[in-house]
Amino acid sequence: MASGKVTFRENSCKGCGLCITACPKNIIFLNKNKINLKGYNPATVEKMEECIGCGNCAQMCPDLVITVERL
Amino acid sequence: MAFTEEVIFAGFGGQGVLSMGRMVAYAGMVKGMNVSWLPSYGPEMRGGTANCNVIVSDELIGSPVVAEADTLIVMNRPSLDKFESWVKPGGKILVNSSLIDRKVEREDVEAYYYPVNEVASECGNAKAANMVMLGAYIKQKGFLDEQDLLGAFVKVFGEDKKKLLPLNEKAVAEGIRLAG
């Protein structure tokens, strides 16, 4: 299965979680240990190896935070 | 002699700065003083910063706009940056040191630093940071006591929030201790 890579422009994230609802692999979460310049817990992915690069997260992000690549 | 206290409360939208002001105004009114409460309003508040001007006085209140504050209460960094210069010489600035990393630059005012977020979390109610700060404020200024404030709490938040009273009582007490 194709694997992918997502990168977040962390400081534009508003922690809304829409990307989370869209991820088929459930690998996105809000990083509670971090507050970005806007004052939000930004979205992040840890198990990047599980990302299939489907782009759903980016489709749902209202703030154009996410870039998706496929390896 | 004539007593007048002009305060600016400022912070993030979510930090409850508008209700801090309302509680002080309400308590002042109950004590028989003239009061005014003026909020910032508009779409730019969306997720952004909020602030309000409160005046408590035993004289007729002129402009509800606080141009030279006796006291400034700032709950986040942008608010300190914006309002530091609005305090009159000799006035007080109460800073939420949990979220504000810098110190007050002016030397002609008295600055106090309270880590109200931590303190609130410690007494088991992270949301009550504003109540902790209010505790510190009334202790600092002395024209309102704990009971005035808690009486106002119910009026401002409504009967159904009464159950939260004990928690907030604790928060206020902690604040008073901080400023003690």
């Binding site: - | 309302r22 105004a25 309400y26 009114m29 003026l38 402009s63 509800p64």
Partner: protein, 353 residues
């Protein structure tokens, strides 16, 4: 009744309901939203009806319908929304329908901004709509006065069969102060026998109308309106004069700005300068009589507005060339600071000396 801490917009609603207002037709706009929202919550509990119209034009025409049926009715908006109501207000005046129209005004022209301003003085006092008419305009300076004037507005509206405008600004709408609700004064009001009744009065056809196609009928109609306006000018003028005798300068300001002038008066006192204040409470009819006696010490009038200078026209007419008429204004939602007025006063005196 105990004191309450109330927001201006909600206080307007509470006062209206206390005054027997049973219908409210509105449309959302900042900074007056808490008023329709309050009415939506409270009117049903008081046997009334709140209806959000499709637009300000829809709302003012619903007011026309409800007022024509004899009901006490209110609408509210803010500057651009009030501009849209001008034709409707002209119709209400032509058909002599009582109602109360609230304008919590904001800065304009155009979409402008949403912060407080007084740029709608002309629209309110000169009739921004078509033709020959006026509406009484009340300009409160505190929440308590807002409450009192709103109640009075319904009486004046019914007494003279005219729309009455409450001209506030974003500050009046948004701020909280303590208020007491006194019983609305019961001035004896005429029966609304001109209105369409719950059932037809046999042999007495009611008509709510502003059309008089024949000049020989339209002229007397307008003359009738202006005889009414003369009575209003004679009986309903309201203003406050403060600190005027012996004043070096007399400021003229209404609404929230008048409170800022009061701060300036205090500051100037300490410097031995006496600033007086004429505060029109009715902007129309304008309190020309307040300008009759001026102390010999007074060197100028200073009109202070949150506008580019509108009330100053009436001040000039009142002054009739006797003294210099100076102006200080802030725009765009900027609220003048007391010190700015202090400085302006000193500048004038400096100039005058």
């Amino acid at each position: 009744m105990a004191k309450l801490l109330m927001k201006g917009n909600e206080a307007v609603g509470a006062a209206a309901i206390k005054a027997g207002c049973k219908y409210f037709f509105g449309y959302p706009i900042t900074p007056q939203n808490e008023l329709p929202e309050y009415m939506a919550r409270e009117l049903p509990k008081n046997g009334g009806t709140f209806l959000q119209a499709e637009s300000e034009i829809g709302a003012i025409n619903m007011v026309y319908g409800a007022s024509g049926a004899g009901a006490r009715v209110m609408t509210s908006s803010s500057s651009p929304g009030i501009a849209l109501k001008q034709e409707g207000i002209s119709y209400l005046c032509g058909a002599e329908l009582p109602c109360v129209i609230v304008n919590m005004s904001r800065t304009s022209p155009g979409l402008g901004g949403i912060q407080p301003a007084q740029g709608d003085y002309f629209m309110a006092t000169r009739g921004g709509g078509n033709g020959d008419y006026y509406t009484p305009v009340f300009a409160p300076a505190s929440i308590q006065e807002t409450v009192d004037l709103v109640m009075e507005a319904f009486n004046v509206a019914d007494a003279y069969r005219t729309p009455v405008v409450i001209l506030g600004d974003g500050m009046i709408g948004q701020m909280m102060e303590s208020v007491e609700f006194k019983e609305p004064d019961k001035r004896s009001l005429p029966q609304k026998d001109w209105a369409v009744q719950p059932h037809r009065v046999p042999g007495d056809k009611k008509l709510i109308n502003s059309l008089y196609i024949k000049p020989e009928e339209m002229e007397p109609h307008i003359q009738k309106l202006f005889r009414k306006y003369d009575v209003i000018k004679e009986k309903e003028v309201r203003y406050e004069k403060y600190n005027c005798d012996g004043a070096d300068i007399v400021a003229v300001a209404y609404g929230t700005v008048s409170r800022i002038v009061r701060n300036a008066i205090k500051k100037l006192e300490s410097e031995g300068i006496r600033l007086g204040l004429i505060r029109p409470i009715t902007l129309w009819p304008f309190p020309f009589e307040a300008f009759n006696e001026i102390s010999p010490e007074t060197k100028a009038f200073l009109t202070v507005e949150m506008s580019a200078g509108q009330m100053i026209d009436d001040v000039k007419i009142a002054n009739a060339g006797r003294l210099p008429v100076e102006f200080y204004g802030r725009l765009g939602g900027v609220v003048p600071k007391p010190v700015e007025i202090v400085d302006k006063v000193k500048e004038i005196l400096g100039g005058a000396k």
